[in-house]
């Protein structure tokens, strides 16, 4: 059937839904007639107006057939359906009069069929015609709704989007612009249509070349790519536009789209500048910078890192940092601690092992790279080669040592000169003794040769002569004193040997790495040097506890003890210069679970309250010029800090001072926000 094919070609359902409004059973003939329309028919039978309305409002009803109902019912149904309702076909009795059909039309029926003998042929034709019209009407309504929606969408786009739109005609004249264009190019309220682009766009924007081949009548591509154009705005700021063109129609009209991308441009410029800035810093800083992932593999290294580690920085990427970063104080390296525990370190001192096997002291700061959920996924290490600084530090320390020895020079000279004096004199004397002995032995030889065969008188004479010589050289005294002189000289040279050995030990350069050492021994050997020099004016008391070995820089600690002892000695000299008494230096060592304490007390002049806060300052000295460098205690303070320890002073003017040094067995890890404490003071 032709009409059926038409249904199927539309998007509408091929099933025809028909509501039959009938009295009980009255529509049977109607339904069988309607089944002949050739499509699948879905009948909904309704016996009341309300059932009819329910069926219609359920939707997709193509036709309502009212079977032998009065026109008033049709009108009521029509009213209840409202507008936009499916057509109604009224079926009237074959006996009904003519006005009945008219009434049905008046009540709103779209067509009317009489139940004549040809009813079964007529009704399907009528029904089909009504369904076709209704479906056409619905399709038209849907299309016009879509058009209206498209129009409002276009209106919204053109008027609301923050993009400037220009439509040009085939001659390159402006047809229309959107409100954003008027706002952006300040042409609000001006007559724009009919003008040319050069009348409404800044010249520098047009000159940028971005509009080339977009303006008719030059051959315009269907759609151009994006180009950038710049203009200097009235406010002096530069604005950047993304320019695109599109041919709109066969008439040759062109749409030009200008998007203001100044902000994006500015941001990307800033990002670029920042990136270059960061890159410049990273590449040019004098510090090495390594970025590692959570496994400890290097993901970035700057050139300085390459220089320090002795490789091109590109070759470092992918290698394990543990290849260089040695264990710290027998534990994992600081960088691995940062990776494992997320701890930060700032300005810590550590050692790295170079490929050549050499150890290099570095100052290192480690920062964990933490992602949003708090996990450490890598770390940044910044470090510097400290070997030069370390060398300078050692030089300063060495000079400090030499300076403190210089302060003891008078004592050293005395202590060496005394034994040298008597050794020298004894040697002189002993050579005389040897000469005397030579003379005596000559006489012995003579006596022996005479005795071996000479006459008795000759023997007597030789013996007398031997006795005379023995008396002359005082052989008895000589025998006793010779060995005494040898013994004393040996003792003297032994004393010099000790002094020289102590001095040599003391002035020896320390190792750059921490070593295990006995603090008692450090303080005792230092005290011995000082004691040798000052035994005339100072008595020593020592009270050493059994101490665990301490991981430290022993030579640096000796320097600290030397500084304190020299100060003590000078304070005592000053005090006894006044009252002539003998001074006392008392050294006490002790240990608890955390560390070792060394207390050195003297009976010197003491430190005035005014001076006490300043004694750890560099170059602060109360001594006469030439007596001290003024660096002793500040150097000592720095050394003790480097050991993670503390240095304190107690003093009473006129009674003496006590310096206490506390050294921890486990130096605290250098933490990020750790600040050095101010020198501690007690009264």
């Amino acid at each position: 059937m032709r009409d059926l094919a038409k249904f199927r070609s539309t998007s509408e359902s091929s099933v025809v839904r028909i509501v039959v409004f009938e009295s009980a059973g009255s529509g049977a003939a109607t339904r069988s007639a309607l089944e002949r329309i050739g499509a699948e028919v879905d009948f909904v039978s309704a016996t009341s107006i309300s059932a009819c309305v329910r069926a219609v409002s359920a939707g997709d009803v193509d036709l309502v057939v009212v079977v032998r109902n009065p026109a008033s019912e049709i009108a009521a149904a029509q009213l209840a359906f409202g507008t936009d309702a499916p057509p109604i076909v009224a079926v009237i009795d074959s006996q009904a009069d003519e006005p009945a059909a008219l009434d049905a039309f008046r009540a709103g029926a779209s067509d009317c069929v009489r139940e004549n003998t040809d009813y079964a042929e007529v009704l399907p034709v009528v029904a089909l015609e009504q369904i076709r019209r209704w479906r056409q009407q619905r399709a038209r309504a849907a299309a016009s709704r879509k058009i209206a929606w498209l129009e409002s969408l276009q209106d919204a786009i053109v008027n609301q989007i923050p993009v400037s739109l220009i439509v040009l005609d085939v001659d390159g004249r402006v047809v229309d612009v959107n409100p954003e264009f008027c706002r952006a190019f300040d042409v609000v309220g001006k007559q724009v249509s009919g003008t040319r682009l050069e009348d409404i766009l800044p010249w520098d924007l047009l000159d940028s070349g971005a509009f080339q081949d977009l303006i008719p009548p030059v051959a315009t591509p269907i759609q151009s790519g994006s180009r950038l154009a710049r203009t200097r705005g009235a406010d002096g700021g530069s604005r950047v536009y993304d320019v695109r063109g599109q041919r709109l129609d066969e008439a040759g009209r062109v749409l030009i789209v200008l998007s203001d991308v100044s902000e994006t441009e500015l941001l990307s410029q800033r990002v670029g500048a920042l990136e270059r800035y960061n890159e410049n810093i990273v590449l040019s800083i004098n510090s090495a910078l390594l970025v590692v992932d959570h496994t400890g593999r290097i993901t970035f290294a700057n050139p300085t890192a390459g220089q320090i580690l002795g490789r091109a920085s590109a070759d470092l990427v992918g290698r394990l940092v543990s290849d260089w970063f040695s264990p710290f104080d027998d534990g994992p390296s600081l960088l691995s601690r940062t990776l494992a525990d997320g701890v930060r370190f700032k300005g810590a001192e550590a050692m790295i092992r170079l490929d050549t096997g050499a150890a290099l002291p570095i100052g290192i700061s480690c920062t964990p790279l933490v992602d949003d959920d708090g996990r450490t996924h890598g770390a940044v290490a910044i470090f510097q080669d400290l070997s030069e600084i370390k060398q300078l530090q050692q030089q300063v320390l060495q000079q400090e040592k030499m300076a403190s020895i210089g302060q003891l020079a008078a004592g050293i000279a005395h202590e060496i000169n005394n034994p040298m004096g008597f050794i020298h004199a004894n040697l002189y004397q002993m050579s005389e003794y040897l000469e005397d002995l030579g003379t005596y032995l000559d006489a012995v030889d003579e006596l022996r040769s005479v005795a071996s065969g000479g006459p008795g008188g000759a023997i007597e004479a030789a013996a007398r002569r031997l006795a005379e010589i023995g008396e002359g050289i005082d052989i008895g005294y000589l025998r006793g004193d010779f060995s005494k002189a040898v013994r004393e000289s040996q003792e003297g040279s032994e004393r010099i040997r000790h002094i020289v050995r102590d001095l040599r030990d003391f002035s020896h350069k320390g190792s750059a790495e921490r070593t295990l050492a006995d603090v008692n021994q450090c303080v005792d050997t230092t005290a011995n040097i000082v004691f040798t020099m000052m035994k005339d004016s100072v008595a020593f008391e020592k009270d050493y506890a059994d101490l665990r070995q301490l991981r430290c820089y022993p030579m640096e600690l000796k320097q600290v003890f030397m500084n304190i002892l020299v100060n003590a000695y000078q304070a005592i000299e000053e005090a006894i210069g006044r009252d002539g008494a003998r001074g006392l230096i008392r050294i006490v060592t002790s240990q608890d679970e955390e560390g070792i304490t060394v207390r050195i007390s003297d009976t010197g002049v003491g430190i005035s309250e005014a001076d006490r806060p300043r004694i750890f300052e560099p170059f602060f000295s109360t001594k006469e010029v030439g007596t001290g460098t003024g660096l002793g205690l500040s150097t000592s303070y720095a050394i003790i800090e480097r050991h993670g320890g503390r240095m304190m002073v107690e003093s009473v003017v006129g009674e003496g001072s006590t310096f206490s040094v506390w050294l921890p067995f486990e130096p605290p890890l250098p933490e990020a926000e750790r600040h050095s404490p101010a020198p501690e003071q007690s009264p």
């Binding site: 004096g421 008597f422 004199a425 004397q429």
Partner: protein
């Protein structure tokens, strides 16, 4: 016979000096410090004092100053390893006849003493 008093807190120095001077024909007295030295000076007639400088309690120059005040005729000689310890003014004031450096040269020491003891 001339009498020489040697004062030094280091007994080995005393011994060595005594050895050196033993056969010069002088009487040699020794004291292990200024205190004992003053005691001997009070008891004996001494012609020359040879004193060390750095001694506990009293320095050699201080000791010789006392000697110069109480026994101005006694020749005063200082023997020291640290020449800067005594100023020239002190040497002049106290009337120290000679400064012998330590370690000393035996022949030089004897020559100086002979000159003053005749």
């Amino acid at each position: 016979m001339s009498c020489v008093l040697i004062v030094d807190d280091e007994v080995r120095i005393l011994n060595a000096l005594e050895r050196s001077l033993r056969r010069e024909g002088w009487e040699i007295l020794t004291a292990d410090g200024p205190e004992q030295g003053l005691k001997i000076l009070a008891e004996r007639s001494v012609d020359l004092v040879l004193s060390d400088h750095k001694m506990p309690g009293m320095t050699g120059s201080e000791f010789l100053r006392v000697v110069s005040e109480r026994w101005p005729d006694v020749v005063r000689v200082l023997i020291t390893g640290w020449a800067e310890a005594v100023t020239e003014t002190e040497v002049r004031e106290i009337g120290i006849e000679a400064l012998i450096p330590k370690p000393w040269d035996d022949a030089e020491l004897k020559a100086v003493l002979r000159r003053h003891l005749g």
